[in-house]
Amino acid sequence: MGHTEPLPVSRRPEGPNGAPLLQAENLHRYLGSGETQTHILKGVNLTIDRGEYVSIVGQSGSGKSTLLYLLGGLDRPSMPEEGSRVLIEGQDTSLLDETALASLRNEKVGFVFQFHYLLKEFTAQENVALPMFRAGKLSRKAAMERAAMLLDRLGLSSKCKRRANRLSGGEQQRVAVARALANEPAVLLADEPTGNLDRKNSETVAQIFQELAAGGQTIVFVTHDTHLAERAPRRITMEDGDIVADTRGQPL
C-alpha cells in the first residue's frame, strides 16, 4: 500500500463497569410481516471483547448480516420484551431513541459494506471527513487533515480530491474503510467487504484488516470468502439464524 506509518486504531479503555464491547442476549429478529414474516435470528447469544478480530461465516440467509447490523445499532432487535437485546459497551440499544442510537453509531461504530456506498457527489477526503463533521469534535480543518492522513495510510493520498465516483472499486472500498475509522470507532463492522472486489483488491483490504487488528482494532466482519475468514482468530459460524460454531485460534 506504500505507507510506512501504522494504521491508526482505536485503543479505547474498558467500557463502564468492565462491560464487554459487544453483547447480544437472546437476540431475535423478524423480517417482514404477516404470512411473509421470517424469523431471521433465533435467540443469538454472543459476546465480543475489545481487540478481537472476528469473522462471521455461514450460508446466505443464515442471519450473518442481520446480526452485524444489530451489533452496530443500525437495526433494532425484535422481541425486546423477551430480553432480546444488544449492548454496546454496556449500553442497551433498545433503550436508546433514534437520535441517541445515531450518535452511538457515530461515536462507537464504523461500518464497511459490500457495495462501498460512498457519497458520489463528495471527494474521497470529504467522504472520510463527514463522520467527523457529524461528531463535531474536530474543527472542519482538523477533520479534513485527519481524513487526508487516513487516506494516506491506506495508500490513497493522491486520490484525496477525487470524486468518489471516479475511483476504482478497490479504491472506493479503501475510502470506505478510512471513513469507518474516522471517529476512532470502538468496533469496525464489515459486511462482505471483499464481496465486490477482484482478488488483488480483496487481498489489499484483507491486509488492511489484518494490520488494523494487529494494532488492536476490534473488527467483526461477515464474509463468504473462506480465505479471509480464516485470517481472523475467532470464527463464528451461523446456520438458520443461530450460532452453530464459535472457534478461537491464536490471537494475531
Binding site: Y69, D75, A102, N106, Y117, E121, L130
Partner: protein, 414 residues
C-alpha cells in the same frame, strides 16, 4: 454538516437546482408585477377620487334608518302598510354651516373644511348637451380641502373669482360638449334656474367619473342656478390621515346629526370591485407559487429517490432522521431564498419596465401608461408566501427521505 451536504447536493445538480429556482423566481416576479399593476390602478382611483372630492362630506340630511318606520313602531308585524310616502316638503340645508365648520376645525385630525352647494344641471353648448354635477365653492377654502387645483390643465380656479359667471369643468365633460376655454355654456337646473357661464378652467383628475361629470362654479352663482339661495348643503372636510376618514365620519355624524360620508362609504361599490380584483390577483399569483412549489416538490422527490443509498450511508455513520430531514429542508430553504430574493429584484425590474411602456388607457381611470404602485407590504408578502410554500413543498420529500430504513436499503429493498 447538514448545510455542507445540502449545498453540495444543490451544486452538483445545477440544472435541477436552477429549474427549481427559476420556478420560484418567476412566480415571485409575477406576483410583484401583477399586484403592482392592480394596486397602481386602485391607488390612482382612490387617491384621485379622495383628493379631488375630499376625505369626508357632511350632507344636508340625517342618515336614513335601515329599519322602516312601521317596523320600528310595530316590531311584531301586522297588516299595516305604507305605499309611496311623499317626502316632506321642506328645504334641505345644513343649519349654521359656518358655526359647524368652526366647531369641526377644532377637532384633532381635521385640517380643513369648506362649504359647498351642489346639485345637477344640464349643460348646453351649441347643439350638445350633458348632465353635470354642479359644485358651488369658495375657491380659497375648497382648494384647501381638495387637490383639484393641481389637476387643472387649462385656465385656473382663480378665474372663477375674477369672471362674473365662470365655470371650471372636467376635460371629459368639456369634450362631450365640444367646449373650449372661454366658451360660453348654458346651464339649466331641474328647478328652472338658468345661467350662462364662461369656461374658465378645465381639469383632469384621471378618474373618468369625476372628469366626465363634475363642474365647479362660484358658490353664489351655483346657489342662484340651483335655486338654493344662501343654502349650503354639503361641508367637505380634509383630515390628516385619509385612511382614518371612516372613523372621523362616525364621530362627526354623532356630533352634528347630519349624514356624514367618508370617501370609503361614498365609493363603497368601487372599493368592493377593487377588493374582488385584488383577491383574483392574489389567487392567480398564489397559484403560480403553488405550481412553482410543486416543481420543487417534484425535483426534491426525484433527488431523494436518486440518493436512497446516500441516505443509508449517512444514517450508518450517525445521521439521525432529523439530520436527514434537515438536509432536504435546507435545500428547499436555499432554493426558496435565492428564488424569492432574485424574484423580488426581477419583479422590481419588471415594474420599472412596465411603468415606461406608453399605453393609452381610458376606462375608469385615464392614464398615459400602465399605473404601477409598489407597496413594501407586497414585497414582504411575496417573499414570505413563496418561502412558506417552498418550505412546505420541501418538507414532504424531506420526511420521506428520513423514513428510509438503512438496513432495507443496504439489503437492496429500495
Amino acid at each position: 454538516m447538514v448545510i455542507f451536504i445540502s449545498i453540495r447536493y444543490l451544486l452538483t445538480h445545477v440544472r435541477q437546482t436552477l429549474v427549481c429556482i427559476a420556478g420560484v423566481l418567476i412566480s415571485v416576479t409575477m406576483f410583484i408585477a401583477m399586484t403592482s399593476m392592480m394596486q397602481g390602478f386602485t391607488d390612482k382611483f382612490i387617491i384621485e377620487t379622495v383628493e379631488s372630492s375630499g376625505h369626508i362630506i357632511i350632507h344636508d340630511e340625517p342618515r336614513q334608518s335601515e329599519t322602516p318606520i312601521l317596523e320600528m313602531h310595530y316590531p311584531d308585524g301586522g297588516v299595516l302598510s305604507l305605499d309611496g310616502p311623499k317626502p316632506r316638503d321642506t328645504i334641505r340645508k345644513i343649519k349654521n354651516p359656518t358655526g359647524l365648520m368652526m366647531q369641526l376645525q377644532q377637532m384633532p385630525g381635521i385640517t380643513a373644511a369648506a362649504p359647498v352647494v351642489s346639485g345637477d344641471a344640464i349643460c348646453t353648448y351649441g347643439t350638445k348637451t350633458a348632465t353635470a354635477s354642479i359644485i358651488g365653492i369658495d375657491p380659497k377654502l375648497h382648494l384647501k380641502v381638495t387637490t383639484i387645483g393641481k389637476d387643472v390643465t387649462q385656465g385656473s380656479f382663480d378665474r372663477l373669482e375674477t369672471s362674473a359667471d365662470g365655470i371650471v369643468m372636467g376635460w371629459g365633460l368639456a369634450s362631450v360638449l365640444g367646449a373650449q376655454l372661454d366658451d360660453n355654456i348654458t346651464l339649466a337646473s331641474p328647478t328652472g334656474g338658468r345661467a350662462t357661464a364662461k369656461l374658465v378652467g378645465i381639469f383632469q383628475t384621471g378618474v373618468t367619473p369625476v372628469d366626465y361629470s363634475r363642474a365647479y362654479m362660484l358658490q353664489t352663482s351655483a346657489q342662484t342656478l340651483l335655486d338654493k339661495k344662501n343654502i349650503i348643503n354639503e361641508i367637505v372636510l380634509r383630515t390628516n390621515d385619509y385612511t382614518a376618514a371612516r372613523e372621523f365620519a362616525v364621530q362627526i355624524e354623532s356630533l352634528c346629526g347630519y349624514k356624514t360620508e367618508s370617501w370609503q362609504e361614498a365609493n363603497a361599490n368601487f372599493l368592493k370591485i377593487f377588493r374582488i380584483q385584488q383577491i383574483i390577483t392574489y389567487v392567480i399569483t398564489g397559484s403560480l407559487m403553488v405550481v412553482a412549489a410543486f416543481g420543487v416538490l417534484n425535483i426534491l422527490i426525484m433527488a431523494v429517490l436518486e440518493r436512497v443509498n446516500d441516505i443509508a450511508i449517512l444514517k450508518s455513520f450517525g445521521l439521525s432522521r432529523n439530520d436527514i430531514t434537515r438536509i432536504y429542508v435546507v435545500q428547499g430553504f436555499v432554493i426558496g431564498l435565492i428564488g424569492s430574493s432574485v424574484g423580488l429584484l426581477c419583479g422590481k425590474l419588471l415594474v420599472e419596465v412596465l411603468r415606461k411602456i406608453p399605453i393609452q388607457m381610458e376606462g375608469l381611470v385615464k392614464a398615459d401608461g400602465l399605473l404601477m404602485s409598489e407597496h413594501r407590504s407586497d414585497y414582504v408578502a411575496a417573499f414570505v408566501a413563496s418561502m412558506v410554500v417552498v418550505m412546505i413543498a420541501s418538507v414532504f420529500p424531506a420526511r420521506r427521505a428520513a423514513k428510509y430504513d438503512p438496513v432495507e436499503v443496504i439489503r437492496g429493498a429500495h
